[in-house]
């Protein structure tokens, strides 16, 4: 009990070391992977192009890829992608909640995207794997089975 006040003071002053970390994990890219029905590994698909409704941007023109990374709009709550394959065209509409977060005066302000859902799609088999957009090599947000 004699050293109790000293211990409490040390605990109190440990707050001085409690500076915020500028660890930004947010991204505005949704990762969409492709799989063949009945397989667990990613399937390389040939994409003629992917377009984003509301913009004139074209992504993945004539590419063979197992997955695509596509942006979402920070000032909206939904986005529609149009996938042009050599033999067919499909659409995917995703909904999300943009969450405005201030990490700190030194770190800045960022938008985190959560509650990712499929609003509508012409694909037959689509599921959400991770409903928050975060940075990471193995992050997959949406899985499409072809």
């Amino acid at each position: 009990m004699r050293f109790l006040p000293l211990g409490l003071l040390i605990l109190l002053f440990s707050a001085c070391l409690d500076q915020p970390d500028c660890l930004v994990t947010s991204t505005n890219k949704a990762v969409i992977s492709f799989k063949k029905i009945g397989t667990i590994n990613d399937t390389v698909v040939t994409i003629s192009s992917v377009t984003l409704r509301g913009t004139d941007s074209i992504f993945y023109r004539d590419k063979k890829v197992p997955s695509v990374s596509l942006p979402v709009n920070a000032s909206a709550t939904q986005v529609t992608y149009r996938f042009n394959f050599p033999t067919r065209t499909d659409t995917l509409q995703l909904g999300y909640t943009p969450q405005n977060v201030i990490l700190g005066p030194e770190c800045g302000a960022f938008v985190f995207y959560t509650n990712l859902v499929v609003l509508s799609t012409s694909f037959t088999n689509v599921r959400i794997i991770t409903n928050q957009l975060t940075k990471g090599d193995k992050i997959v947000n949406v899985e499409i089975k072809l």
Binding site: L4, P20, N100, L103, C107, A109
Partner: protein
């Protein structure tokens, strides 16, 4: 999480130490026929067993808030404190106002402003001090109502630059605190003291547009534990006239 566990364990040890003392042995029942002085001395009330009577009211101001208001450009605020002496326990309360203004990296701004209060109970561990000086442990429940606003921009190569102007009109927050500190009588009714606070478990409602960054009276919402410190001056008003202390008289042999 590790810090929370250590802090809670430490506080539990302190409280257990304070309450874990053995009670004094119960004196044997008095024999009415025994008229010796020793027997009459046993009849005196136990000074440690104090009644819950209101003895005094003490009010004060937090000097650190006054200093921060004057010297820290990002802070505007004040805090007043008070407690009611119930003997071993003290009913304590704080009321304050808190405003922050930050420039955020990337050309943004953040500001909040609101009021808060805390209420709780303190246990005085200095049971026998004749001046009723305090070394106390206690707990508080804190609540804040505030507004916050921020502007910042998001650069996007596909959707263009987006300027965000966000405001949470009415946010409420609640949290708990474990507190410890000292109150020392300086002169007559003038007292000084400090309070250290371990604030924990903040909960916020109403942060619809912008995730709450700073809670008045608490601090950064992103921290599940936040530390606070007050250095206070008080004036004590006794509710009943306090009897002068009698000098101790040695017992006759």
């Amino acid at each position: 999480m590790w810090r929370l566990s250590c802090s809670l364990a430490l506080c539990c040890c302190i409280i257990a130490g304070a309450f874990g003392q053995q009670p004094p042995p119960t004196p044997p029942p008095l024999d009415e026929s025994d008229t010796t002085e020793a027997a009459y001395r046993e009849k005196k009330p136990d000074s440690l067993r104090q009644k819950f009577t209101i003895r005094s009211f003490r009010f004060g101001v937090d000097l650190l808030s006054v200093y921060r208001d004057a010297k820290v450009p990002t802070f505007k605020g004040w805090e007043v404190n008070g407690d009611i002496d119930l003997g071993k326990f003290y009913l304590s309360g704080d009321v304050g106002n808190w405003g922050r203004t930050y420039d955020v990296a990337g050309g943004g701004t953040y500001e909040n402003n609101g009021s808060y209060w805390r209420a709780g109970l303190d246990l005085n561990l200095l049971k026998k001090d004749p001046d009723r000086n305090m070394f106390f442990l206690g707990f508080r429940y804190g609540r804040a109502t505030f507004r916050e606003a921020s502007t910042f921009s998001v650069s996007d190569p596909y959707f263009g630059d987006i300027q965000k102007t966000l405001e949470n009109e009415e946010v409420t927050a609640g949290w708990g605190e474990l507190v410890t500190g000292l109150r020392v009588k300086i002169w007559k009714g003038f007292w000084m003291g400090y309070t250290g606070r371990m604030k924990f478990s903040p909960k916020v409602t109403g942060d619809t547009d912008l995730k709450t960054y700073d809670i008045p009276g608490y601090g950064l919402f992103s921290r599940s534990i936040y530390w606070g410190f007050n250095y206070q001056v008080f004036w004590r008003i006794p509710f009943k006239r306090e009897k002068p202390k009698k000098p101790l008289v040695p017992l006759k042999q």
